[in-house]
């Protein structure tokens, strides 16, 4: 089958979902009202609350939620065949992520721009708020560890990406300096910066850089993990305007350019999908499709992280309540298309089924390597792009996404440690130095403790997915309670909530057994902690829903 069919079907499903389902939800469940005064207007302060053009807001929202995760998840999950991943990404985007992301945005807009964390406390209760903070802490910890391992692997397997991936830091700092200190207009630095970035990819393609085989007993991937965390620690201490802001911006541009180029290449190349529809001969270590598929692909189908972005920053900038549909649902669709691109690259970018099987030798083995390899082949159909350049381009794209997430992740982790220092009155922790060392130390321990050292597969990936889905479930619960209190139908949020919670608990139990059998006790402990949290979410939900139902029946009586 041609990958073009997959692309048209996928994009068609997203379009239909946006035009039909999101309209239904916006009109009948959210009842979006253009007369409603949004927090951006009521509390306008020029800092957090600023009415923003819906296209710009969509750009922010989309580039904040899309990163390396919607590529990695589907790239691993196609090991079960292309159909399960394709169905979960398309249906998940329309029926799960759409209502989750836009719902979190709407609930926040209707509650003075409060974040989901704060809403959890006011809608569900104080205990649920603590639960929420625990899940976020675990999520951040895993995000940083997982992404460091991913980047390290890409550096080792695609040494051509090393020069451009580090060069982009120089480009970002220069743009930040020119804009903030020199007041230069943005257009030219952007054009020159992006051109230089692509030029550096040509240089990198000619000059691959590899690390020595072993330094202090660490392999190349392990050394990269240490270098990356050292960088992340330094980067998180730099002023936002100098590195993070311009880096995020370049990444945003990269995302639009990369997606555009990729779908254009699929149109030109029309490659055949060589991977099986459903893989009947999966390698031995691959766990059962159900439930693991639903936690392997979190971002790209449904992800709790999006709710944090929706309710944390986006909701404070919504100009008109009607924009919630455009920004929330289309942001999800953007991320879904990235996941779709990953599925196509990982299933159609290979000449034969044998080549494909060569990449998918064990669970977590294919992943980004397959994406870069297959995607590079597809990109080579565009005149002037060689296969190796295409691979460098995709490897750099994935690295930049993951690295920016790491920059932000380590910074947030540091804030949490500093806050704990303030709460428990430990002055040493309130400063930047020790708190950064502690934050990075935890992540580093997890990266190596999970068999990372860079060398192992991405064993920890599905565990990261479970935490992400747990957060999504909690957000959908808050949303359901909120909708219930307004006396509107809750089935559209409660159904995805129950599905996610059920699959997450099942996946955690499956993995728990796997970790025990493989004697991976560190991961076993982590799994147990997440499992306890998941059960806790279940219990909180029951009590919150029962309470809300009795309140709404009392008020209607």
């Amino acid at each position: 089958m041609s990958a073009l069919v997959l692309m048209v079907l996928g994009l068609g499903a997203f379009t239909a979902g946006y035009l039909l389902y999101s309209r239904f939800i916006s009109e009948h469940i959210f009842r979006l009202d253009s007369e409603f005064r949004t927090p951006a207007h009521v509390q306008e302060d020029g800092v957090d609350f600023v009415p923003t053009n819906r296209w710009v807001l969509w750009g922010h929202h989309f580039t904040s939620v899309a990163g390396a995760a919607p590529i990695v998840g589907p790239a691993i999950a196609v090991i079960w065949g292309w159909l399960p991943a394709f169905l979960w990404v398309t249906l998940g985007t329309v029926f799960f992520a759409g209502i989750h992301d836009a719902g979190a945005l709407w609930a926040s807009v209707r509650n003075e721009g409060k974040s989901i964390g704060a809403l959890t406390e006011s809608v569900v209760g104080q205990r649920a708020r603590s639960l929420f903070m625990i899940i976020i802490f675990l999520l951040l910890l895993m995000v940083n560890a997982v992404f460091a391992i991913i980047i390290a692997r890409l550096f080792v397997q695609h040494p051509t990406s090393v020069i451009p991936a580090w060069f982009v830091i120089a480009v970002a700092v220069t743009i930040g300096y020119l804009l903030y200190r020199r007041g230069v207009a943005l257009l030219w630095p952007s054009i020159i910066g992006v051109t230089l970035l692509y030029a550096s990819m040509f240089v990198g393609n000619e000059v691959p850089l590899s690390l020595p085989e072993s330094v202090f007993g660490l392999g190349p991937a392990g050394i990269w993990v240490v270098i990356l965390f050292t960088y992340a620690a330094v980067a998180s201490l730099l002023p936002v305007w100098l590195l993070l802001q311009p880096r995020d911006y370049i990444n945003g541009l990269q995302l639009f350019i990369g997606l555009g180029i990729f779908f254009l290449a699929v149109l030109i190349a029309r490659p055949d999908v060589v991977a099986p529809m459903i893989n009947s001969s999966v390698p031995e270590d691959v766990p059962s499709l159900i439930p693991l598929l639903f936690v392997t692909i979190a971002c790209g189908a449904c992800s709790g992280f999006h709710g944090l972005v929706s309710s944390g920053t986006t909701s404070k900038q919504v100009d008109n309540e009607k924009d919630v549909r455009f920004v929330g649902f289309l942001g999800t669709v953007g991320e879904g298309s990235l996941a779709l691109a990953a599925i196509i690259a990982c299933t159609a970018g290979f000449a034969t089924l044998g080549d494909w099987e060569g990449y998918y030798t064990s669970f977590g083995a294919g992943g980004l390597d397959a994406f870069v390899q297959g995607g590079g082949v597809i990109l080579a159909s565009i005149p002037g792009i060689s296969e190796s350049f295409g691979q460098t381009l995709l490897a750099v794209m994935a690295i930049l996404f993951a690295a920016t997430t790491m920059d932000t992740g380590v910074r947030l982790q540091r804030y949490i440690v500093q806050e704990a220092g303030t709460i428990y009155d430990i002055p040493a922790l309130t400063g930047k130095g020790l708190s950064t060392i502690l934050a990075v130390g935890c992540c580093l321990a997890l990266a190596f403790g999970s068999g990372g050292g860079g060398e192992g597969g991405l064993i920890i990936w599905p565990l990261f997915g479970t935490t992400n889905q747990l957060l999504a479930a909690l957000t959908l619960l808050v949303l359901s309670v909120f909708i219930l209190k307004q006396g509107r139908p809750t089935v559209y949020t409660l159904a995805p909530f129950s599905f996610l919670l059920f699959m997450t608990v099942w996946a955690l139990l499956t993995q728990l057994r796997g970790f025990y059998e493989n004697e991976q006790y560190f991961l076993l402990g982590l799994d147990a902690v997440i499992l306890v949290t998941a059960i806790w979410v279940g219990l909180e939900s029951l009590s919150a829903l029962r309470k809300a139902a009795s309140e709404s029946s009392e008020s209607s009586a």
Binding site: N53, V56, H60, T63, V240, T313
Partner: protein
């Protein structure tokens, strides 16, 4: 709208796209610096010796506008200065 206006508008939106995502973080960072500066300027009145107060005295009327918000942010519901009431 002719093409020149369109390019200018696109440039504005691009700039907004650049600034928007970290606007809050940057503004908060600047506010922290401003808060420290406020403390320096008002320190003499609160009994903290400040050798530079002779020079910063003339800044008082300029900073008075933000005084109320500042003392609220610093956790004082009312003005900490007896002869300097504001609410």
């Amino acid at each position: 709208m002719d093409w020149r206006e369109r390019i200018t508008r696109a440039g504005e939106l691009l700039h907004e796209f650049y600034r928007g995502r970290h606007r809050g973080a940057l503004a908060r960072e600047r506010r922290q610096e401003d808060d420290l500066f406020m403390l320096l300027v008002f320190s003499e009145m609160m009994g903290i010796e400040n050798p530079s107060s002779y020079y910063t005295l003339e800044l008082l009327p300029l900073l008075y506008e933000g005084f109320h918000e500042w003392h609220i942010r610093m956790g004082m519901d009312h003005s900490p200065l007896e002869h300097f009431r504001c609410c």
